[in-house]
């Protein structure tokens, strides 16, 4: 897509097709000949991994939906029936439930890679924003899906999250009741959540299409953050990146399979095997691990509306990130100060995840001696989370002196002495 098409239809049928619907040309230009920077490292394989995750979720989900009953009296039992009596139902359910966690694991690494190498900067702002839209949709799908087994955490998780909308001024109560389809989380809620849970993955697939489209116009960013200048900077996507992505996908699937086959309930919560009971509140309501940082941000604010605003703001800030970062340099590789702030940002995100899993009043191990409880730890880390985007990135670009960067991607790979030694033109001809 970037550059003229090199596709040549070889048979009568493909020539006929190419004049009418050049879909083979699109596939060739996008996934075979597509010029890709030659220096991409393994952090760039998560795009392909995420595509596989989405397909696994959709395929297992469609079959699970054939057996699942969205009714508060039968939902729990139907999930157990899937585990016990449906042929390979245990495999489908384990794959789908753990698949959500794997999906988020991959998306977080994908996003951190984008943050580190400055993949959100011009000309890839829309690519990044579409990615944030996908991430938002993923969170919605994951939350809705978690409600479906109608266990204790399903029910009380739904209660906590839907009640957040009650914090909105004036429209809070009507909006919450509209979401519930009644005056509490009930059967109507479960039904609409199932319907929406089935809808959202297809919305994600659509936005993924736009995401890939937006990627294929400017082309991939790369670890140096330098713009592709000549053909010598790139390699054709196939076979170089199909084989590299393929290897990474299989390694990822090994981790995936480890959880599915050997530790299927490790990432879930025991309470969700207890059927929902509106009269019994679990001792400790926690979301799934991938939403814990946002839960920590929500609880960092004593005011409910403030907490909700901050929680959504934590994602909202990602939308304007391309215009917050003032540095001319994309890659943190050449930002001696920026990379430290980035490292602390990663630590802050992990720390927020930890805070989200603990009770706010509990003392932090070791640091508890100084009187630090999880509430205050959450507040400090929340401050850093927003500070990174709203203060550090805007100001750092003005004061930081970037390290020396190579002249081109090709130079960074080949070194100055061996310039032109292995031109990819030869590789292209193969």
């Amino acid at each position: 897509m970037s550059g003229p098409s090199t596709y040549e239809p070889k048979t009568g049928f493909t020539r006929w097709l190419d004049k009418r619907l050049p879909i083979a040309r699109l596939g060739w230009d996008s996934f075979v000949d597509f010029p890709t920077p030659r220096n991409l490292n393994y952090w760039w394989t998560f795009g392909g991994i995420l595509a596989v995750c989405l397909m696994i979720q959709i395929l297992t989900g469609i079959v699970l939906a054939m057996h699942y009953v969205p009714h508060i009296d039968y939902s729990c039992a139907s999930v157990e029936r899937i585990d016990r009596d449906v042929n390979f139902g245990w495999l489908l359910r384990n794959s789908h439930a753990n698949g959500a966690s794997m999906f988020f694991l991959a998306v977080y690494l994908h996003m951190l890679r984008g943050l580190y190498y400055g993949s959100y900067k011009a000309p890839r702002e829309l690519l990044w924003i579409l990615g944030v839209v996908i991430y938002l949709l993923m969170m919605a799908a994951a939350f809705l899906g978690y409600v479906l087994p109608w266990g204790q955490m399903s029910f009380w998780g739904a209660m906590v999250i839907t009640n957040l909308f009650g914090a909105l001024p004036v429209v809070g109560t009507p909006v919450t009741e509209w979401l519930w389809g009644g005056f509490s989380v009930g059967n109507a809620t479960l039904n609409r959540f199932f319907s929406l849970h089935y809808l959202i993955p297809f919305l994600i697939a659509g936005v993924v299409g736009l995401h890939i489209w937006a990627l294929h116009v400017p082309g991939n960013n790369n670890p140096t953050g330098l713009t592709v200048k000549t053909g010598a900077d790139t390699l054709p996507f196939h076979p170089y990146y199909t084989v590299k992505d393929g290897f990474a996908i299989v390694v990822f699937l090994i981790i995936f399979a480890f959880f599915v086959f050997y530790w299927p309930d490790a990432l879930g919560h025991a309470d969700n095997y207890v059927e929902a009971d509106a009269l019994v509140t679990p001792a400790h309501i926690v979301p799934e691990w991938y939403l814990l940082p946002f839960y920590a941000i929500l609880r960092a604010v004593p005011d409910k509306l403030g907490g909700v605003i901050l929680m959504f703001g934590a994602i909202g800030v990602l939308f304007i990130l391309p215009w917050l970062d003032t540095s001319r340099v994309r890659s943190m590789r050449y930002r001696p100060m920026g990379r430290w702030f980035f490292l602390f940002f990663v630590i802050a995100c992990l720390g927020l995840g930890w805070v989200g899993a603990e009770l706010p009043d509990n003392k932090v191990p070791v640091l508890g001696v100084l009187g630090l409880d999880f509430l205050w730890m959450g507040r400090i880390l929340t401050l850093y989370y927003f500070g990174y985007f709203l203060v550090v990135l805007p100001l750092l670009g003005l004061v930081e002196k970037p390290a020396e960067r190579p002249a081109s991607i090709e130079r960074s790979v080949l070194g100055k002495d061996t310039f032109g030694a292995a031109a990819p033109v030869a590789a292209l001809a193969e």
């Binding site: 016990r84 245990w90 384990n94 390699l235 599915v260 050997y262 025991a270």
Partner: protein, 268 residues
């Protein structure tokens, strides 16, 4: 330097004082560690333990705890306590048929619209001890005995927790805890007070295989049975896992070799 050293010593001292109080604040005990036959990537349920555990459930637990999600046929399905290779269809399994026939279940309505009673069949669900939750509560001083279908998965550290709970009645309650009649002190239970009386005593039941029916043995066996009930396909899961892992590792090796081959002529 001296000052830093002293500060460090002081910090360690404060930590040493603070940590035990933090631990003591926990209201109940952590479950005791225990070794199970089904642990690890190759662990399987021991048939003897499963069969004895079923006996404990049937003769002791089932008086109060139902297993709504289980059918009697499950006992004879692959991976179950009474699976026989010559009866792949558990409905034909003579042991399971005999177990089922011991129960009287309500069926119907018949052609006159009346419910009637008949001996159980493998296709029946496990008989439930109560007609409804209210009846279960009324029969147990207001506390509903939880369903056992997925009890091992529905508790944190399920197997260890349930075993510790069953054997955990021998402790003196703390002075500030009032144990009212109908409640029993058990430090493994959140809050320390539960409505279930101690159930297991030595030689409470007789094992047909001659195994000594000690409290520890019965607790071990019934937890094994409940673990199977919570996840009857565990053995199939691990068997398939092994095949999948071998396949994926081989594929990863091949792809890595292909990757090295493809990239061998390109600097990157």
């Amino acid at each position: 330097m001296k000052i830093i050293q002293r500060l460090l010593v002081a910090a360690v001292g404060v930590l040493a004082l603070a940590v035990p109080t933090a631990w003591a604040a926990g209201e109940y005990y952590k479950p005791n560690k225990h070794v199970w036959s089904w642990e690890g990537p190759f662990g399987t349920y021991d048939r003897g333990e499963l069969q004895r555990g079923f006996l404990v459930y049937q003769q002791v637990c089932s008086a109060c705890h139902g297993m709504e999600q289980l059918h009697l046929r499950n006992l004879g399905e692959q991976g179950g306590p009474f699976y026989l290779a010559e009866y792949p269809n558990a409905n034909d399994n003579p042991i399971v048929r005999a177990i089922a026939a011991e129960y009287i279940v309500e069926d119907g309505p018949d052609e006159f619209g009346d419910m009637f009673e008949r001996p159980g069949r493998p296709s029946d669900r496990f008989p439930y001890p109560y007609a409804n939750q209210a009846q279960g509560r009324a029969a147990n001083g207001g506390a509903y005995p939880p369903d056992f279908s997925v009890i091992v998965k529905a508790r944190k550290q399920g197997p260890e927790y349930i075993r510790s709970l069953l054997l955990g009645y021998d402790y003196e309650p703390p002075d500030d805890l009032e144990v009212r009649p109908g409640n029993y002190y058990n430090p493994y239970f959140p809050g320390g007070l539960l409505a279930m009386a101690p159930q297991l005593q030595d030689d409470l039941i007789e094992y047909p295989d001659g195994a000594p029916a000690t409290r520890e043995q019965m607790a071990h066996d019934v937890v094994t049975f409940l673990a199977w009930a919570s996840e009857p396909h565990m053995e199939a899961r691990k068997r398939m896992g092994l095949m999948v892992m071998i396949y994926l590792l081989a594929l990863a090796g091949l792809l890595y070799a292909a990757y090295r081959q493809v990239w061998s002529n390109v600097k990157h």
